[in-house]
């Protein structure tokens, strides 16, 4: 399942709302984090690890960066990892198996130690994979570099130290059941019960549908927005109690959301603020893996717990893992009681454990062993917790079978085939025989589904186009326009939806349902929005039709003829370029290019077909009129191949009325013609603007002097300067009509004569 988490992609951070869960951690990210953890080791320590792996050290002063690279790269080889794992003792291999079982890439040391103690293993055994570099210690980067691994293990009980696994090691690590199983029952068991394990899948599918319709938003602190929290908690399917669990499951909606995040069915979007539904395409193909993925997600789940946190209680992850691993150590047909299992856990758990402390860590100083204190609750409290874990969530997930001891009536448990498969002590469970006809499609668009016919694959298939509305012994779904449209968006067709319903229905399909699905589908085909289509442009309709006829069949969707000369193709890879000659291409994600030339009149623009694109003609006709080729030309500058467009007062007015601004027109000329707005267009815009001051007409007399120097003299001399208006040229100047007589007199006084035409 490409979008869901695969067993190779482990999440280093436990999913949880309060922790702002990130997207699934891909292998390369996990590998980088592993190397980053090693870089915090001292060089000599890394050299020792490198040597333990069988490598040679050339430098006398190994650098942490290069040594971390070498160790990380060496572990990329499965053969190397296998040989190193073979050197481990069974308890150490078992510790690696915890990563396999929970699909976590990094686990707090405290959690690992608690699991190992509950299984009767000594935590110091973790030194084995650490010394071989199969695990790496992750500490606060502000702390000193790591050298003494044993000391770090001891310190890890007090500080937030995590152990990280190399992704290749995680792939090869196998879950091992502990030795010395809990006591089994001699008297046998009555009323054995187990679930089909489908309800968690249906709840996940329902959550996916809700998030798909409207993503869930997260606040800065990582909590859901109130609206979304209310939406999820008020949803009968997500928040309704399970009718199957033998012990109530607290906050089922929170559990579903946490599992959805851990399995990758719900993802954080790139903003980190919204939880969105993952692509659903591959559900039906890979649904068979989902029960195991959900089980692994639950085993490593920290953000949701079966019982309230009490200081003296065990943490959920160690309890879940230890309880299930002890059950895995039983022979397949054997049962044990919750009391026996609780006794067994107590017998293996040490009676004293270091108390938590907030004392600062003092580098170089070994901490004195803290005062021992009893940490375990009484057996009855452990039994309570086991009830919550085994008869609640594990039973709900289909991992545990429950019954009653024949003699005493006490609760007895054993693993189901799915549980044994998840714990790696049994093969993949055989799917139960399915009832093909398990649906009742009703005329009111409701569907009753009997769970005996359901499988993970069918849950996925139905979830594509019908909404889950009720979960119980019988399940209910509803078909609506929205749900059908969602199905169509996921690639279903009206025919495939109706076929799925018909194939699994007891009765013929109600006509109202068939008609509605067909009608909704047809209506959707009326409007198609292409975000990134490819258009193939031909010289004419004939060539377009010829190409369409020769288009290879069976290679994706057929091209759609568009306008006179185009074929629309959804996937460019289906275009048979071997039958076409590519003359040019244009990528519309790139900025538009210059393809117009402004003609000398300033009002006509000519389009260069070689540089044109689809948008160019559409853009220009927003403010210009297309000139037909046969129109007699006012000028002689048009070439027949160049479509021309004329900007007129009417075309400009129409553009302004439609909301096109003068600024947009200016930008268009810069972008498409590579020039500023022609003055003729500016003139028209000014005319349309109506705010320009009126053009003033006045009578001026032009005086023409024999030389520029004489005119300079007139402008400089105080007696003549005031009579002159603007200078029109080197030797010409304008004079207002009423100034000509005073000027004439002044010039005469200066000894110059002025001749006036016609005077």
């Amino acid at each position: 399942m490409a979008q869901f988490r695969s067993r190779e992609s482990r999440d280093g951070d436990l999913a949880g709302l309060e922790r702002r869960p990130g997207p699934p951690e891909p292998g390369d990210h996990s590998r980088r984090e592993f190397r980053a953890a090693l870089v915090r080791y001292r060089g000599p320590r890394l050299a020792t690890i490198r040597q333990a792996q069988g490598g040679e050290i050339e430098s006398t002063r190994p650098r942490p960066g290069s040594m971390a690279d070498e160790i990380t790269e060496r572990l990329d080889s499965p053969a190397v990892v296998s040989s190193l794992i073979e050197r481990l003792s069974n308890p150490a291999r078992q510790a690696l198996g915890f990563f396999d079982l929970t699909e976590l890439a990094s686990i707090p040391l405290k959690t690992l130690v608690q699991i190992m103690r509950l299984l009767g293993a000594k935590p110091a055994i973790l030194l084995e994979p650490l010394e071989l570099g199969l695990l790496a210690i992750e500490t606060n980067p502000a702390l000193p570099a790591i050298d003494d691994l044993a000391f770090q293990l001891e310190r890890g009980l007090y500080a937030a130290i995590q152990l990280r696994i190399h992704p290749a090691v995680a792939r090869l690590a196998r879950t091992l059941a502990p030795e010395g199983p809990p006591p089994t029952l001699a008297a046998g068991v009555v009323q054995p019960r187990e679930t089909d394990g489908l309800e968690p899948l249906i709840r996940l599918a329902a959550l996916w549908q809700r998030a798909s319709a409207d993503p869930l938003r997260q606040t800065q602190s990582g909590a859901l927005y109130k609206r979304d929290r209310d939406r999820i908690q008020g949803d009968a399917v997500l928040s309704g109690p399970s009718s199957l669990a033998l012990t109530p499951i607290p906050e089922p909606a929170v559990l579903t959301l946490a599992l959805a995040l851990r399995t990758g069915l719900i993802l954080m979007d790139s903003s980190g603020e919204r939880m969105v539904a993952a692509p659903f395409d591959d559900w039906t193909t890979n649904a068979v893996h989902l029960p195991r993925m959900i089980a692994s997600g639950w085993l490593g789940l920290e953000s949701w717990r079966e019982f309230p946190a009490e200081p003296e209680d065990l943490e959920p992850i160690p309890l879940r893992l230890a309880a299930l691993l002890w059950l895995a150590s039983l022979p397949e047909s054997e049962w044990t009681t919750l009391e026996s299992l609780a006794d067994h856990l107590l017998a293996h758990h040490p009676q004293a454990e270091p108390a938590e402390t907030t004392e600062p860590y003092a580098p170089g100083a070994r901490r004195a062993r803290p005062r021992a204190r009893p940490t375990l609750s009484p057996v009855s409290r452990i039994v309570e917790q086991l009830e919550a874990v085994l008869l609640g969530s594990a039973f709900f997930l289909g991992l545990v079978r429950a019954g009653e001891e024949r003699a005493t009536g006490r609760r007895a448990v054993q693993l189901t085939p799915l549980g044994r498969y998840v714990l790696s002590v049994g093969p993949a469970p055989t799917p139960p025989p399915l009832f093909e006809q398990f649906l009742f499609v009703q005329p009111n668009f409701e569907i009753i589904a009997y769970r005996q016919g359901l499988s993970p694959r069918l849950i996925g298939q139905l979830s594509r186009f019908a909404s889950w509305t009720k979960i119980g012994s019988a399940l209910e779904l509803a078909i609506s326009r929205e749900s059908v449209v969602q199905g169509l968006e996921l690639g279903e067709t009206a025919a495939s939806i109706l076929e799925t319903l018909s194939n699994h229905s007891h009765r013929p399909m109600p006509a109202s349902v068939a008609d509605a699905v067909t009608s909704w589908s047809a209506r959707r085909e009326q409007v198609t929005l292409h975000e990134s289509a490819t258009l193939i442009e031909f010289a004419n309709a004939f060539e377009r039709d010829q190409a369409a006829e020769r288009w290879p069949t069976g290679n994706g969707q057929a091209p759609v003829p568009v306008a006179d000369r185009f074929l629309l193709v959804e996937d460019e890879r289906t275009v048979p370029f071997d039958r076409l000659r590519l003359t040019s291409t244009r990528d519309y994600r790139q900025p538009p290019g210059v393809c117009f030339a402004v003609m000398p009149d300033g009002l006509t623009v000519a389009l260069d077909p070689a540089r044109s694109d689809l948008l160019a003609p559409a853009e220009v006709v927003r403010f210009a009129e297309s000139l037909p080729p046969e129109l007699p030309n006012r000028e002689s500058f048009r070439t027949p191949e160049q479509p021309r467009y004329l900007i007129t007062p009417a075309s400009l007015k129409s553009a302004l009325d439609r909301g096109v601004s003068p600024h947009q027109i200016t930008q268009w000329f810069e972008r498409r013609a590579g020039t500023t707005t022609p003055p003729a267009v500016t003139l028209l815009l000014a005319a349309l603007d109506g705010k320009s001051p009126p053009i003033r007409a006045r009578t001026l007399i032009v005086i023409d002097l024999p030389s520029a120097e004489l005119l300079d003299g007139l402008y400089q001399h105080p007696a003549t300067a005031d009579a002159l208006s603007e200078r029109l040229g080197p030797t010409t100047a304008a004079v207002a009509a009423d100034q000509i007589a005073p000027l004439k007199k002044t010039l005469r006084d200066l000894g110059l004569r002025i001749d006036i035409d016609g005077a």
Binding site: L529, E531, Q546, V562, E570, D578, R586, E619
Partner: protein, 81 residues
Amino acid sequence: MANSTARIPVKVHRNVALVRLGEPILAEELLARKTLSRSVLGRLSETVLLIESEACEAVLDELKRMGHTPRFVKRDDAQRR
């Protein structure tokens, strides 16, 4: 007479954002909607409107508001198919 096996010259327009409609009247409907017409760059034919590629999501939302249930062919869909 044209050679039927000759390679036909074409120009390829890539990454074009457009709305394809079943009937011309739907295009008129869309163009009459101010919020939509702002994003329409041109009309390739009676039933094909070219739109701004940045406005795809907004156009999709507006089409839904109008009561349509458009088929949305995303860039990723086209590349994955």
